[in-house]
């Protein structure tokens, strides 16, 4: 119900309008439109080759649509690059988390966003103390305990690593975080914790887009579910208006009812 009420709010974080994308002669996306509002968890589901990844890459600036446009912050953004998308508040948490295994938690969270003490042209001196403080604050907000901020993250547990990746996505004040298959490689308990983490991110009025294959996890985490099939949106419903059966059918056969 809450999701529906917010859905009427006029300010989507990201809006895709009639996006079409071809790879050579193959149509990956056909006239796809959808929008994301703050605090909403949107799950993008569909079979392999349905166009989920293509759509998320277009939103993150890694690919360009052949037709249609992406609106971010109320303006169309042609020629979006990954860097520009990042600056506009769109962050991604990839399936493998993409952490720098050799660096500590603090360095990973603040990567590319380090507080600077003193600038001499291109040479900018790090303010490690402030970096650590901000990283710790962000990790705590994600809700995971990490006591050693300098130990290489390769020695850390799966939950801690995921929290670090999410904290890195949140630290720039992102307005949309895209999760690519966040639960694909996790066990039962870890999956549960991850769903909690994602809900907690959304509670901070951040729009969340989750790409997933797992019907169970989708039903647990989503406010709204968008199903793609062969590049077309075949379902776009609030989770309260649909059932696992319907979503499952949309994912596999492509028929909504």
């Amino acid at each position: 119900m809450a999701a529906v009420a917010v859905a009427n709010s006029p300010d989507p974080v990201v809006r895709c309008r009639s996006i079409t994308k071809y790879f050579g002669g193959v149509q990956a996306l056909a006239n796809v439109s959808l929008s994301l509002i703050p605090g909403e968890v949107l799950c993008l589901v569909g079979d392999n080759g349905a166009g989920k990844t293509t759509l998320s890459k277009i939103i993150c600036g890694q690919l360009h649509p052949d037709a249609g446009d992406v609106w971010i912050g109320g303006r169309p953004r042609p020629r979006l690059t990954p860097l520009k998308a990042l600056e506009l508040g769109i962050a991604i948490v990839p399936q493998d988390l993409a952490l720098c295994e050799n660096l500590g938690a603090s360095d990973n969270v603040m990567l590319g966003h380090e507080p600077v003490q003193l600038s001499l042209g291109p040479i900018r001196f790090l303010d490690s103390r402030r970096a650590r403080r901000e990283a710790l604050k962000q990790i705590n907000e994600v809700g995971v305990q990490i006591d050693k901020l300098d130990i290489p993250v390769r020695t850390m547990s799966g939950g801690q690593r995921q929290a670090i990746a999410i904290a890195r996505a949140m630290v720039r004040g992102s307005t949309l975080i895209v999760f690519d298959e966040p639960t694909a490689a996790l066990g039962v308990r870890q999956t549960e914790a991850t769903i909690q983490l994602i809900r907690r991110v959304a509670r901070r009025q951040i729009a969340v887009m989750v790409i997933s294959h797992s019907l169970k996890d989708v039903m647990a985490v989503a406010d709204r579910i968008v199903a793609l099939r062969l590049g077309e949106v075949i379902m776009d419903k609030a989770v309260s208006d649909t059932t696992a059966l319907e979503v499952g059918a949309a994912m596999s056969s492509g028929r909504a009812r």
């Binding site: 993409a98 720098c100 990567l111 600077v116 040479i123 900018r124 870890q190």
Partner: protein, 373 residues
Amino acid sequence: MSAPPEVQTAEAAEHQREGALAALWNRVRPATSGQMWRNAGLIVALVALGVDLAIQRPYFFSKENFEVLATQMVTLGIASVGMAALIISGNVDLSIGSIFALGSTFAARYSFNVDPLIAFAIGIFVGAAFGFINGILVWRIRISPLIITLGTLSLFLGIALVITQGVGIPNLPRRYAYFGQAHLLGLPLPVWCLLIVVVLGHVILSRTTIGRHIYAIGGNRQAAEIAGIRVRRIVIGLFLVNGALIGFTGALATSRFDAADVQFGNGLGLDAITAVILGGVAFAGGEGTIVGVMLAVVLLTVINGAFVALGIDPYLGNVAKGGALLIAVGLDQLTHEQRERFRTMLALRDLKARHQQSDEGVDVSDPLKTRSG
């Protein structure tokens, strides 16, 4: 801001599984233990060599000899700083010997016609230009930089040979040669140059955003890209700056030797890689410090000097250098395996203890209960 219980439980379970002793071990072990051990090893090797020399050849410890050694390590030292930064970023430049030849050739040729400082600038510029070519090639041709710079090693050397026809350039103008032989505050000018490059390299790598980004790129390039780091700019910039450093050290060497020869740069690339890896930089990137690399440069240079001083067949110097590298890398691997085995053993012992507890009626299924029980 308190952590929600469900997440903490999972974390606690993992920590518990590791065991109390292992947790203690983790606390004691500093983050850069590998580098610390390596530095300690290098210092021990240096001291051992020093003691041996002190007993057999006391004159080795004269001011004059130190000055000679310091001057000898200038080229390798400067080259190793650039090489360290490149390898930490996950790249490598095998072609620096050829860039050295080009930089020194151009600087020496122009030293007859222009102001020495401009001749130096030409050497730096030529080095930077060829370094830039390496950077562009590495960026555009998505294949290991090892292969690409293997190609440019030969290519650049060929260019230098075509230009010089393999003939050295002797008897450079005195005002040019002055720089390589002058002293400032009791130290040869080239040694000052080395010190400045080392300090700058250390500060930039360890204290600045660019340095942190270099480590990040070496650790996980994709992560660096996701975090908005301009990876291409940094990698190409590294090759360029490395080339400039090599061009500079090439000009400096011709100035010191009062002559230029294409052969001077022979093997510089491999020597620098040896020093960098011996100094604790991981060839896969992401790990290492300038301090460690400089310890290795000093060790390699002292080995050279010691073999001369002790009257040992200088060709055995190569055996010593190669041996040192293999021993260091091998020990690293061995201690790593030992550490892992130790941690596994501790974890197993802890698990066994908990199973015994469970036989006495303590529930081990919930880690939090185990801890309080």
